[in-house]
């Protein structure tokens, strides 16, 4: 692995371990779960196995103790029987020669017997002697006799004598090394004997047998449990009978050692031996200082106690080695699992990452990018498939959108052209500077999105006469706008040439109807207002009749002479009409965009609606009338789009200087 590859691996690892990623959560979840399972299984196994091992070790120790006990019992049985037999005979016989012979034979015939002694109560064997205790023992390969007792050796207080005397029971004492002998470890078995004096049983002395317990020591010291587990014997008082450390034997007391450096629970178990002949405890071994299992068993026949010691680390040594191996396996397994989960997580997240990268690309508008193929059988594959189809539909949608946008733009540009044409042929609204005191005039045009070809014009013909025109071209869009431009130009061209409005209409119609293959037409109302006389002479070509508003609030459609829309019929004739206006009276000329304005329910504003709107303002100025009408139409339409142009022209007479009759 090169340095570069290592760096890349570490980067991807860091990416995977980012807290927010799927990989991280997957790894944490998997490892913590399996780790928990491992730990629980391992801990249970360890605890259960160590309990089994402890139990096994205790059973082993008990078996060992029992076999030791069996050996010792078998051994000591003979000795005890021989000793008891001598004691029994001594109760009946007085003769020393027999005693001496018996003692000599006993010592001679038994290898384990080191010596035997019969110690008498004061003055009981010989009325002249306070101490009398003949002792036959091995010395230099033969049996010697020594009579013990005297001021230097007052045996009455010694345990081997005093104890049987007090209890009436035989018992063991020792161990000790023989004095001056071959460093032989010995123990003494003492049996009391009694004589009948005056018909009563009287304690007469003690028969003892000293036996070598070297064999016992060798036997016990040869015992090995596990690596360095060992066994030793003590007496009930704590005196060591055997111990691998020979220096302790007969010199030291176990209770003292325990008190110094051991575990006091051992002492408690030993003190309870009468009740419970065996027990086990963990504790510090006073000898080795190691924490160890102590198994303690009493040897009932001798009153000795065997102690078996096994260091804990050896007891559980195998288990600990096993545990180390298992922990190692777990660690290796967890690492393998980590790698496996990382691999799985990356195999999941890599396609997801590349998908999200692709999604980002798509979001930036790159629809030509390839969506990576994933295994189709799983969810990632399905996701990739969805992405692919999303990309395709997006591409299609965008293509459609482009097309429709282009078409829309074409339409929009057509709309814009139509609008521009119409705008350039609409006169600027009358300015305040043009105001005259004889009349007010106001006009407005509200163009629909698609122009409807409305037009109006206001042209002063001379000092007193004012030409007015409102028209509406059939159809919409550029053709309507073009015809509107033509119509207005024609009216402008001919307005001054014809005194009668009907004649003007006839002239314009002639021009428009000529070669009118598209069958477009224009409805128009035109008039000439004489402000001196207040007379409005007018004619109408298929246009909706204007409204007349009297100063008293009376509103009615203006009576109009018949006439067909301009351009529809060549040679059409039009009629003239005239109305004499008085100050305060108004004429409102409008296009059908006003009355045919729809609201959201598809209802027309209508002539009645218009009249209602105007009735509320019967003394309004021309400008106000126009503004109010537009506001009323808008209010009616609400949210509905304006479908046709709205054109309004209002003339209000203010002053009349010359009577029409004059």
């Amino acid at each position: 692995m090169t340095l570069h590859e290592l760096a890349r691996f570490l980067r991807s690892l860091r990416g995977a371990l980012n807290r927010r990623t799927l990989s991280f959560r997957l790894i944490v979840l998997m490892l913590s779960t399996t780790g928990m399972i491992f730990i629980v299984a391992f801990a249970y196994n360890y605890v259960a196995t160590s309990a089994i091992m402890l139990e096994d070790a205790t059973i082993n120790a008990r078996h060992l103790a029992q076999s030791v006990i069996g050996r010792i019992a078998a051994h000591s049985d003979t000795i005890q029987k021989l000793t008891k037999s001598i004691a029994a005979q001594l109760g009946a016989r007085q003769d020393l020669p027999w005693l001496y012979t018996t003692q000599r034979q006993l010592v001679e015939n038994n290898n384990d017997i080191f010596g035997t002694c019969a110690a008498f109560e004061p003055f009981s064997a010989d009325p002249g002697r306070r101490h009398f205790a003949p002792y036959h023992f091995k010395r230099d390969g033969s049996v010697s006799l020594k009579v013990l007792g005297g001021t230097g050796y007052d045996y009455f207080a010694m345990p081997w004598y005093a104890h049987p005397k007090e209890t009436g029971q035989p018992g063991w004492t020792g161990p000790y090394y023989d004095e001056g002998g071959g460093n032989v470890l010995m123990a003494t078995y003492s049996v009391p004997f009694y004589r009948t004096v005056n018909g009563a049983q009287r304690f007469a002395g003690v028969v003892t047998v000293d036996i070598s317990i070297d064999w016992l020591s060798d036997y016990l010291n040869g015992i090995r449990l596990f690596e360095s587990g060992y066994a030793f014997l003590i007496m009930r008082d704590g005196t060591f009978i055997t111990h691998p450390d020979r220096r302790l034997v007969s010199r030291e007391n176990m209770f003292t050692r325990i008190a110094q450096s051991g575990d006091p629970s051992l002492a408690r178990i030993i003190k309870r031996m009468d009740v419970e002949p065996f027990g086990a405890a963990f504790g510090r071994d006073f000898h080795t200082g190691k924490r160890s299992l102590h198994y303690i068993h009493s040897l009932a026949a001798t009153g000795w106690i065997i102690v078996i010691v096994v260091p804990e680390h050896e007891l559980y040594g195998d288990l600990r080695a096993l545990a180390r191996t298992i922990v190692l396996i777990i660690i290796v397994g967890m690492l393998a699992l980590f790698v496996a989960v990382l691999f799985v997580a990356r195999s999941i997240t890599r396609p997801v990452h590349s998908l999200s990268r692709v999604a980002g690309e798509i979001a930036r508008g790159n629809l030509d990018i390839d969506v990576p193929h994933a295994d189709l059988a799983n969810e990632i594959g399905m996701l990739a498939e969805s992405f692919r189809s999303m990309k395709l539909s997006l591409r299609e949608y965008i293509a459609n959108l482009r097309e429709t946008t282009a078409a829309k733009e074409r339409i929009e540009s057509e709309l814009a052209v139509g609008r521009t044409i119409q705008m350039s042929f609409i006169p600027a609204p009358p300015r305040p500077a043009d105001r005259r005191e004889e009349y007010e005039i106001a006009a407005a045009i509200e163009m629909a999105r698609e122009v409807g070809g409305d037009l109006y014009d206001i042209v002063p013909l001379d000092e007193d006469r004012l030409f007015l025109l409102v028209g509406d071209v059939s159809g919409k869009g550029v053709p309507a706008a073009l015809l509107m431009a033509v119509t207005r130009t024609l009216f402008r061209a001919f307005a001054t040439s014809y005194r009668r409005p009907a004649a003007l209409l006839e002239r314009v119609n002639e021009e428009l109807a000529r070669e009118n293959d598209s069958a477009m037409f224009v409805t128009a109302f035109c008039g000439v207002y004489n402000c001196a006389t207040g007379e409005l002479a007018y004619s109408n070509a298929g246009h909706n009749p204007p409204l007349f508003m009297g100063a008293d609030g009376d509103i009615r459609p203006l009576a109009i002479p018949g006439g067909i829309a301009l351009g529809a019929d060549d040679g059409a004739a039009f009629g003239d009409a005239i109305i004499a206006m008085r100050p305060g009276e108004r004429i409102l000329v409008y296009t059908d965009g006003v009355t045919e304005a729809l609201n959201e329910r598809g209802e027309f504003f209508g002539e009645p609606g218009l009249i209602r709107a105007l009735a509320r303002a019967h003394s309004a100025s021309a400008e106000e009338t126009v503004a109010r009408t537009i506001a009323a139409v808008r209010e009616h339409a609400g949210g509905a789009p304006q479908s046709d142009d709205i054109t309004l022209l209002c003339l209000r007479a203010l002053r009349i200087t010359t009577s029409a009759d004059a």
Binding site: E450, D472, V473, S474, G475, K476, N516, D517, S518, A519, M520, F521, T523, A541, G542, H543, N544, P545, G562, G563, I564, A565, A568, D569, A572, D592, E596, S643, D644
Partner: protein
């Protein structure tokens, strides 16, 4: 707007229902053009179900009439009511067309 076409007594009858405005008028124009193309010369527009007609609609009638004139054909109009009749009369178009109260009368009338 709905246009249904039938033939009766040698005349093609166009029953127009709904609204004929700048948006829907081209459809009516196409129907009329198709009939003329297929050789029909005598059309009858039955407008009793027509709710509204705008100037764009009027233009189609005018254009159709103009097309039929040199072919010695004509378009008759019948069944106009309310608003539609008002638009025809206001615009003066009523004088340009042969107009009948009902379809029967339109069919029965002599050319």
């Amino acid at each position: 707007m709905d246009v249904s076409i039938s033939t009766q007594e040698g005349r093609a009858i166009l029953r127009v229902a709904g609204r004929m405005d700048a948006t829907t008028a081209p459809q009516f124009e196409r129907e009329c053009a198709a009939l003329i193309e297929s050789g029909e010369r005598h059309l009858v527009a039955e407008l009793s179900d027509l709710e509204y007609i705008s100037s764009a609609g009027l233009r189609i009638f005018l254009a159709t009439a103009k097309k039929l004139k040199p072919l010695e054909g004509e378009i008759r109009i019948c069944g106009m009511s309310g608003l539609v009749r008002e638009v025809f009369s206001l615009s003066g178009f009523i004088s340009l067309f042969a107009i009948y109260p009902s379809l029967d009368e339109a069919l029965a009338a002599r050319p």
